[in-house]
Amino acid sequence: MAEKHTISCLVENHFGVLARISGLISARGFNIDSLTVSTTEDPTISRMTIVVDAEGPRLEQVKNQLGRLVDVIEVKELLEGQYLDREILLARVDANGATKAELERIAKRFGAKLADSTDRSVVIEAAGDTKVLDQLVEQLRAHKITKLVRTGRVALER
């Protein structure tokens, strides 16, 4: 399997840019793991963090094709160790009186918290880099995860 690479793009913050980028990505057949968009310190510019399943010439193609778009101001591949990345996870997990304490312990170990709690389930909220969240999910699987959502990666150079 190809390694995952993180591409950070600065794009014009206007109508239709997301459609252009997602259209290009699907038309060229690139495999995207996640894509996040939000505004930056400059309200006319948005930052997109795109995690792609590609390497070598194929990865270069993704970057070059993105760079061709008039609305894309900058394309940068973030290299391992040179950036911070985070995502947020929310997971609803079945819980009862007996298992809740165990789930609390797991959450604490991952710096996560219980965002919601009922008689039958808890919602765990965690922020962290992708690997840490993957480990958290593994541990939660021992209990029953009924719903899971992750934001996808946001990243910033160190």
């Binding site: 014009e12 459609a19 061709r68 008039v70 609305d71």
Partner: protein
């Protein structure tokens, strides 16, 4: 204080400032303000029969002149009819600006009458596009659109204009500068000296170089630099289909076209070379055949303005990203003559042993007709084609010697491109002799544009290779589908009568002896279009050929194969004489 103008008037003011003299299109509900403003301007508006014709005419105009072509259509069906022409221009990197009407902004998204998401539909086939919601943005957008269309790797740009934006009155303030922070055109300072140096070093070590030139050489105006490089290195030059004309085929170093229907010796030279210098060409699959077998023995240099073209289909050793002309100038400073004497001799031997051939048959042959057109026009006409066998024969048998003399849909392969592109080219170059070499199938996809050509009394010449087949489809069915002619047989059409219906001159030719006199007669007609209906051999095949996905050295329909069939092979007269090679 700047004066107040309507959006449509601002549009026209901006078109004039971009040097637009001709626009092709059809009016409709929501672009009437634009047509009304055009009516009152000096811009010549060519009403077409169909919007597809308008987009191909803008394309043909752009290819013939190097200027930006302009086409106009109304919303909905007008815009969707432009799509094929826009996609054609996109695939071949042709600068056109398409201006579409759109329903008023307050009803966009409501499925209004003749509403379609034009921006959405054209997003993957434009270099860029704009939906202009306010008259105040029109001037900036038009300025940017033309700049984007013609700079860098050229391409089509679409401007979608809601009717209220064209009616709104604002102060006209023409932007002198284009400010696009996301659009960086590759020019000299960005060409890395290191890349040039490494490429020059690779050239120095080559004994068997081949230059592979594409349309980028023509678009960047670098034909003189290409010629100089070839002659400094004494390296033979092959061109892609769209690169024909970038290098004179009359020159001894010319190898003509490579690829699927390229010459046998050319493809063999590419298979044997130790260095391939790709210049402004994109290693299209019709050129490479099986990509990982393409020029397998060669180190590869690739000069291209578009970084996304590098390593897309074929991995190259020495990429140079930048304008072709600038890059060649830099390269020329660092290279000197190579000893290619042995290489050129072996190529000359390949040319002698495996010339381009066809076999004489009882009926008229398209190859002969195209050679005759080539001779009658002294290789100086603008040749436009449809898509199919006739297109490949035109590429093989017309002798191209100058840039912008072949106008053909290479990337998209759009049948029906011929006639409207011919019209566009003739509008762009009124003095030129413009021939449409077409097939009966291709021609009938847009033949209604005869009305446009006739109205403007254009002296275009249309040579129809009439074989009552979709000939290339028929050939593939014979080769790969057990001769089951699924939907490739066409109904016979009397094109002389069709010519008459549209007020064009029309001739029918059935005999070899009548070919040249009829071509000469057509050349004398200058006050209307001429159609020559050539009734040709129905099942003539286009050879040689690399079957799809096969390597270059496995061609079919070769000289050897044709010779075994008996009869006398007709050798292409125009092949450069190897005795003229300067082997010094």
């Amino acid at each position: 204080m700047p004066q107040k103008l309507k959006g449509a008037q601002i549009l026209i003011e901006c078109l004039l400032r971009e040097g637009v003299d001709t626009a092709f299109g059809i009016p409709g509900g929501v672009n009437l303000p634009t047509f009304d403003a055009l009516y009152q301007s000096t811009i010549k508006v060519v009403l077409t029969a169909h919007e597809q014709g308008a987009s191909h005419m803008a394309d043909g105009y752009a290819r013939a002149t190097g200027k930006v072509g302009v086409c106009l259509a109304t919303s909905g069906p007008g815009a969707t009819n432009l799509v094929t022409g826009i996609a054609t221009a996109y695939m071949d990197s042709i600068p056109i600006v398409a201006i579409t009407g759109q329903v008023r902004t307050s009803v966009i998204g409501n499925d209004a009458f003749q509403e379609v998401d034009t921006i959405g539909i054209t997003r993957p086939i434009t270099k860029h596009s704009y939906l202009v919601r306010d008259a105040k943005d029109i001037a900036r957008v038009v300025r940017e659109a033309f700049y984007i269309a013609r700079s860098g790797r050229p391409g089509p740009v679409l401007i979608d204009l809601p009717v209220d934006a064209t009616l709104g009155e604002v102060e006209f303030d023409y932007p002198e500068q284009v400010n696009l922070r996301g659009y960086r055109v590759r020019t000299t300072p960005q060409i890395q000296p290191e890349a040039i140096r490494r490429a020059a070093e690779a050239i120095t070590q080559s004994k068997q170089p081949v230059i592979y030139a594409g349309a980028g050489v023509i678009y960047s105006g670098a034909t003189a630099e290409l010629f100089e490089l070839a002659h400094v290195l004494k390296a033979p030059v092959t061109t892609s289909l769209l690169g024909l004309g970038a290098y004179p085929e009359t020159d001894a170093l010319s190898l003509g076209m490579l690829g699927m229907h390229g010459f046998e010796y050319t493809n063999l030279a590419v298979a044997e070379c130790d260095l391939l210098i790709g210049i402004g060409a994109r290693f299209d699959d019709r050129v490479t055949g099986k990509a990982d077998e393409f020029a397998k023995k060669a180190k590869k240099i690739h000069i291209d303005v578009d970084p996304a073209s590098i390593n897309k289909t074929v991995i190259v050793d020495f990429p140079i990203v930048g304008d072709v002309k600038q890059a060649l100038r830099e390269l020329l400073k660092q290279v000197k003559a190579l000893d290619t004497k042995a290489w050129l001799s072996s190529i000359a031997e390949m040319k002698r042993a495996r010339p381009l051939t066809y076999k004489e048959k009882s009926r008229l042959l398209p190859q002969y007709i195209i050679q005759q057109i080539s001779e009658a026009t002294n290789g100086q006409a603008i040749v436009v084609t449809g898509v199919g066998q006739h297109q490949m024969w035109a590429a093989q048998y017309y002798q191209f010697s100058r840039p912008r003399s072949l106008i053909t849909s290479g990337g998209l392969g759009t049948m029906g491109f011929g006639l409207p592109a011919t019209i566009g080219a003739q509008f762009g170059c009124p003095e030129a002799v413009v021939w449409d070499i077409d097939g009966d199938g291709s021609f009938q996809m847009t033949s209604q544009e005869l009305a446009t050509a006739s109205k403007h009394k254009l002296p275009i010449k249309i040579a129809i290779m009439n074989n009552e087949f979709h000939g290339m489809v028929r050939q593939w069915q014979d080769q790969f589908y057990g001769s089951r002619y699924a939907s490739s047989v066409l109904n016979p059409v009397d094109f002389v009568k069709l010519a008459d219906a549209y007020g064009c001159a029309g001739f029918r030719v059935e005999k070899k002896d009548d070919v040249r006199p009829t071509i000469d007669k057509a050349m004398q007609i200058t006050d209307r279009p001429t159609i020559i209906d050539f009734l040709v051999e129905k099942k003539e095949d286009c050879w040689p050929m690399i079957a799809p996905g096969k390597p270059h050295f496995q061609m079919i329909g070769t000289f050897e194969m044709l010779s075994k069939e008996g009869g006398v092979p007709q050798i292409r007269k125009a092949d450069a004489d190897e005795s003229k090679l300067s082997l010094g």
